[in-house]
């Protein structure tokens, strides 16, 4: 790989031949705004917010422009800031961007950029094309296209990450909008509800159906874990609200899944806080379960195991360990059977 040298805002930086200006700038800590660009999909070059000044007079979209040896880049000056503000105001004029009741308030890239550039909803009355609002047809996803900025991230996420090709652009110019398999309703399409389009959407145009709780973005706490379902081992960032309820699951880019999830990883977690959980040890007496204290239950279990071991030998006890449990728990279960009970009768569902 050939290294190249260029100057960004007066600082000498090094990049690799073939990298774009944006990639080298971000690698070196320069903050160039973007909307259509996302590192997990191919480059689009549609929103023009990433424009930079190249070698004095040219203005280029940095997300698609390959960096050249010796280039001098200015990431922002008064003219570029003005252009960016203008682009944002046109986007605002086109849709219904009212943050007061938007689920993505505080997590919206458009909102953050409007704030950064002081963009406001233009006073003049622009003709608005009313677009699709469909918040019920899909079990998992909600769509409000009045908040869409036509960046195309969802189209690319569906084509390049989930590879389902549900989202497409339809119409031209001011009539451009999204379509799901040419169906009016997302619920009628071939969407598999992996939710990658929602995860990548920079605005509130696409959002998740609420499973348990909601909460404003700035109150949510994030912690990662590993998906409980298949063996891919997707890394998930789980968000919880102030009440401790699970709000949403977002694919973590550092996992083997590179940020992607399937419908189970996305929506299959509310059983944890559902009403089917058992919250007390149960002992069956006369054919009926009765609640018991932990001490009582543990004493009873160990007494019965000991009695049976005494009477019929350690090989009369069998444990089913679990592929749904951690390494530590599985280790302890086999150690218990081998070192305490004294049998190798331990297995789990590897074959099932």
């Amino acid at each position: 790989m050939n290294k190249i040298q260029l100057t960004i805002d007066g600082v000498e930086v090094t990049g690799t031949q073939g990298q774009t200006i944006l990639e080298i700038a971000r690698d070196n800590g320069f903050d160039i705004p973007t909307l259509c660009y996302h590192p997990s999909i191919s480059k689009t070059g549609a929103c023009r917010l990433c424009i930079v000044r190249v070698n004095g007079n040219m203005i280029k979209a940095s997300c698609t422009e390959p960096a050249a040896e010796g280039a001098k880049i200015i990431t922002e000056d008064a003219e570029i800031a003005g252009l960016r503000k203008g682009i944002l105001e046109m986007l605002l004029a086109e849709g219904d961007h009212n943050c007061l009741y938007c689920e993505e308030n505080g997590n919206c890239e458009l909102q953050a950029l409007c704030y950064r550039y002081g963009a406001e909803n233009p006073a003049a009355d622009f003709p608005k094309n009313k677009r699709q609002i469909d918040v019920t047809s899909s079990k998992g996803l909600r769509r409000n296209e009045n908040r869409c900025v036509l960046c195309g991230r969802c189209v690319k996420a569906c084509a390049e990450i989930q590879v389902q090709n549900v989202w497409q652009f339809d119409g031209r110019g001011s009539h451009a909008c999204l379509t799901s398999d040419m169906f009016e309703k997302l619920g009628d399409s071939s969407c598999v509800q992996c939710g990658q389009c929602v995860q990548i959407c920079p605005t509130g145009a696409l959002s998740f159906q609420t499973v348990l709780g909601r909460g404003p973005e700035w109150e949510l706490k994030k912690e990662s874990s590993i998906c409980i379902y298949c063996g891919v081992g997707c890394k998930i960032d789980f968000y919880t609200n102030k009440q401790g309820q699970l709000v949403k699951a977002i694919g973590n880019p550092d996992g083997p899944n590179k940020g992607h999830l399937c419908v189970k990883g996305r929506f299959g977690f509310d059983f944890v806080q559902g009403d089917k959980r058992i919250t007390s040890p149960l002992i069956k007496r006369n054919g009926k379960f009765e609640e018991a204290s932990w001490d009582e239950a543990l004493d009873y279990v160990s007494k019965r195991f000991s009695e049976i071991k005494q009477a019929s030998g350690p090989d009369s006890i069998m444990a089913f360990s679990s592929a749904k449990c951690t390494n530590e728990e599985n280790y302890l279960m086999q150690k218990f059977m081998r070192a305490v009970v004294g049998t190798n009768n331990v297995d789990h569902c590897a074959r099932l």
Binding site: C194, D270, Q334, A350
Partner: protein, 531 residues
């Protein structure tokens, strides 16, 4: 997996056999689709059902369930006959070629097509030529290879093929079993198996016995006799030899073959303890139920299908009244004479490292900042991205001469159709979690039997009508889904749904070596139910 998920872009051709990847391992399924659809990589799919990947395949071989050995032998036969195999790899790194080649002689494409129920033998040749021309080829399989009486043989044939092609020990190739549960790899690594200690150290070995007795400081003589597998233990319970069952985070009533037999075993046992998060079908039959904690209520590690060990963090506060599962096991152990003093999952992991050579170099601290795949023998070791580089574990790769053997149950006039079972996208295993997740259960609320349209018209069944499916072990009723997905004369049922439990029907015939049940094929009959 011998190889890694992140090597998928390095693969030139894929063989997906016995894996409905886009439904059961959707994230890997999408990565394969991206290579095939967006980058023009080659794909061969072998499956009794026209699964989603089959639509994108260069060659799709819709085989009869239970004929994997024949088709894999068929590929190998063509590679040898057309001189397309990697002679250098076979000569330098493998043994057993001559005997294998002799056995393969009769597996001509015509002979194989007949066994597998394929119309066009030339497709077998075409597939083999793709593997030879587009290297590295990565072989992906799942329970559609293993869950047969001939499961072990199926796996050996996968290894044979990849050795013949020289696709082992290189990035982008490999024999890649997709593990079906998030920590099935780890549970095996930890020795939650009847014949091995952690890191697959056999129990029937006096040195290991001594080593673990010392490590665990137990006064007990550790048993040198391999234990029972799950299905064997259920038989032993019925026979009266196993009297107590400790079921931890499993639901055998729903997940094991021949449900009637499982329930009988649980009823026969004197004492059954179930440790789980909800009152499963199995817990309902227990004497004591201990409420454990769900995955995001606790700390620990899990090992994925590519041997990558990853940390799991506590995301939500545990529900009141529940306890950490390791704590519960420790409490029972200590009441039975042990004196364990673990205070957290990390304490246990530190002990795991000491007795599990492949995990010795892994620490909680490293896992927070590094990607580590075992084997990782010491703290300076970066982990292992792919196995068998330069040398196999046993030295030379063993090529095996494997003959095709038919499944346990063949069709007959009374049970003229083949039943195969599996999972669907929205649900997982016995549904304990997904059926208690609102959105997933709303998308896929009920079980079904998938029926080919030819069969549907033979039985005068239309889409959505209720049918009864029976085998020698039981009978269930459910709605028919009429499609062209299964091979004619094959029906498919998911096993997630207690209302239409597929495992009332499945057969508990086992592979003689590894004791895996033959879930994927048994004889059945179908009848229309007149409402």
């Amino acid at each position: 997996m011998t190889n890694s998920i992140r090597e998928i872009p390095l693969t030139e051709s894929f063989l997906v056999i016995g894996s409905n990847t886009t439904e059961n391992h959707p994230v890997i399924g999408s990565m394969i689709k991206n290579e095939v659809i967006n980058k023009g990589k080659k794909l061969v799919v072998v499956d009794p059902r026209k699964i989603e990947l089959a639509k994108h395949a260069d060659v799709f071989l819709q085989i009869k369930p239970g004929t994997n050995v024949a088709i894999l032998n068929g590929f190998a036969h063509v590679l040898i006959k057309e001189n397309l195999y990697d002679k250098e790899f076979v000569k330098e790194r493998c043994e057993g070629f001559d005997e294998m080649a002799k056995t393969l002689e009769k597996y001509t494409p015509e002979h194989v097509a007949k066994i597998c129920g394929l119309d066009d033998p030339s497709k077998i040749v075409e597939a083999a030529r793709i593997f030879a021309a587009s290297k590295p080829m990565a072989l992906y399989y799942c329970m559609g290879i293993t869950q047969f009486k001939s499961g072990v043989n199926g796996v050996k044939c996968c290894a044979n093929l990849q050795m013949l092609l020289g696709n082992l020990g290189i990035p982008g190739g490999g024999v890649n079993p997709l593990r079906g549960q998030n920590n099935v790899q780890g549970a095996c690594d930890m020795g939650a198996l009847n014949a091995v200690y952690p890191a697959y150290q056999p129990v029937a070995n006096e040195e290991n016995q001594k080593k673990f007795k010392e490590a665990w400081k137990t006064p007990l003589e550790l048993s040198i006799k391999p234990g029972l597998t799950i299905v064997e233990s259920l038989n032993a319970a019925i026979a009266g030899d196993v009297k107590a069952l400790y079921v931890f985070g499993e639901n055998p009533v729903m997940s094991d073959p021949n449900q009637h037999h499982v329930i009988e075993a649980l009823e026969h046992a004197e004492f059954v303890v179930v440790q789980d998060i909800v009152l499963t079908e199995t817990a309902a039959l227990a004497d004591v139920v201990l409420p454990g904690r769900a995955f995001i209520e606790k700390e620990g590690t899990a090992s994925n299908t590519e041997r990558r060990v990853q940390p799991m963090h506590k995301v939500v506060e545990p529900l009141k009244g529940t306890q950490d599962d390791w704590w519960i096991i420790m409490q029972i152990a200590n009441r039975m004479g042990a004196s364990w003093d673990y205070t957290c999952a990390k304490d246990i992991f530190e002990e795991v490292r000491k007795v599990t050579p492949s995990y010795a170099g892994i620490t909680y601290e490293r896992l927070e900042k590094e990607l580590i795949q075992w084997p990782c023998p010491n703290e300076q070791h970066p982990g292992t991205q792919y196995l068998h580089k330069e040398k196999f574990n046993r030295g030379l790769g063993l090529m095996s001469a494997i003959e095709f053997t038919p499944p346990a149950e063949d069709v007959d006039p009374e049970y003229p159709m083949i039943l195969t079972t599996g999972r669907i996208l929205q649900h997982f295993h016995t549904g304990t979690m997904t059926r208690n997740s609102r959105i997933l259960d709303e998308i896929a609320p009920e079980g079904f039997v998938e029926l080919h349209s030819n069969d549907a018209s033979n039985y005068n069944v239309s889409d959505g009508e209720v049918v009864s499916i029976s085998t020698r072990r039981g009978s269930v009723r459910m709605k028919a889904r009429v499609t062209d997905k299964p091979k004619p004369n094959v029906v498919f049922m998911p096993f997630h749904f207690v209302e239409a439990a597929a495992n009332k029907l499945t057969i508990d015939a086992l592979d003689p070596t590894c004791k895996i049940p033959e879930y994927k094929v048994c004889a059945c009959k179908i009848e229309k139910v007149n409402a």
